[in-house]
């Protein structure tokens, strides 16, 4: 059985296996100011902190959600980040998904799903690669043998939102 006990120390350095390299290569956001902020500068669309959307969010570009979304998010073939202020009650589908905020729903990543240390997830994750950072809260199941997770066909090269409920002010960082 197990012969050794390895203690987690707060000041412990991550092993080389966990060394951050690139945003979606690593689950560790400790060495950068905010990975979702970094995402903003990559010309991703942003759903700002004060925006609330009920319904389906789909599109053909990467997206950062810092606000509240209820329904579903489908960004097949693109990256999705739920920022630290993001509060999502929805099923999510994207190429790479990074969770820094709160998600209640199932998450499908055709490449990778990362739950950061500030992330809170209640739902099931399906992706070939999944990373859970120390400190992340997760309840549900993880399937890392999903076969081929096929992205759905992407319509236009534009993020489309279909609000059904309240929609707050438009975030000026968007686009």
């Amino acid at each position: 059985m197990f012969e050794k006990l390895k203690e987690t120390r707060k000041d412990a350095k991550n092993s080389s296996r966990d060394t951050p390299r690139e945003n979606y290569e690593s689950g560790d956001s400790t060495q950068r100011q905010s990975s979702s902020t970094q995402m903003h500068s990559r010309s991703s669309a942003v759903i700002g902190q004060s925006i609330k959307i009920k319904g389906t969010v789909s599109g053909g570009e990467s997206l950062v959600i810092e606000g509240t979304v209820e329904g579903s998010v489908d960004l097949a073939g693109h990256d999705l980040t739920i920022g630290q202020t993001g509060h999502v009650t929805a099923d999510l589908q994207a190429k790479n998904v990074k969770i820094e905020g709160q998600v209640k729903g199932d998450i499908t990543g055709s490449e990778k799903v990362i739950v950061s240390k500030s992330g809170r997830v209640h739902g099931n994750i399906v992706a070939p690669r999944v990373t859970l950072e120390d400190g992340a809260k997760f309840k549900g199941s993880i399937d890392m043998d999903p076969g081929e997770v096929k992205p759905k066909a992407v319509p236009a090269n534009k993020t489309e939102t279909k609000p059904m409920g309240s929609l707050g002010e438009v975030n000026k960082e968007a686009g």
């Binding site: 059985m1 197990f2 203690e7 739950v115 990373t131 859970l132 120390d134 399937d143 043998d145």
Partner: protein
């Protein structure tokens, strides 16, 4: 126990604790299905109705511990969670897990050499085939300290095939299908 599984092979794991980074990291080398079912959130097991009879305890457990019906567990990570449960709740848990156990199911957990040796709260993850990751260690005694014999009698869906004596009168237990 985990050395039996080759990296890349298909393995289904049920962990009775919350999601754990090192366990996910370890099993990411496998084509795995990991289920984290935090049993401490299962109020009917942790704080059972003392007046409830055996049948209603099982019924409550079946209603509230909803595992996927087709879940067939290869590796069950019990850790020290059985020591949060009284004997009646362990029996109920065993009955709920029974349909999800198969001939090759193995489980790993801790026990007490004697019931008067308290178990202390520890939170573990899998680091490697030989090494555990200790996340949390407190001096807070667990509600129960079940001996190997008591666990054998109560957790009937699996049988204890190996017990290794650890420090402080604790046991490392390996369970297999009967």
């Amino acid at each position: 126990m985990l050395a039996d599984y080759e990296p890349g092979s298909r393995v289904t794991v049920l962990d009775l604790g919350p999601g754990c980074a090192s366990t996910v990291r370890y099993f990411s080398d496998f084509a795995c299905h990991l289920v984290f079912y935090d049993i401490l959130e299962c109020e009917h097991l942790i704080h059972p109705d003392e007046d409830a009879d055996y049948v209603s305890t099982i019924k409550h457990c079946q209603q509230h511990m909803t595992l996927p019906s087709d879940l067939q567990i290869d590796v069950l990570l019990l850790w020290d969670y059985l020591h949060f449960l009284d004997v009646k709740s362990i029996e109920a848990l065993s009955i709920v897990l029974q349909p999800h156990v198969h001939q090759q199911t193995k489980a790993y957990g801790f026990g007490s050499l004697h019931s008067d040796k308290p178990m202390y709260r520890r939170r573990y993850g899998v680091h490697s085939t030989q090494e555990l990751q200790l996340y949390e260690s407190t001096d807070q005694p667990l509600p129960y300290a079940h001996s190997q014999q008591r666990l054998t009698d109560a957790f009937m869906c699996l049988r204890i095939t190996r017990g290794t004596l650890l420090q402080e009168g604790h046991l490392e237990l390996l369970f297999e299908a009967p």
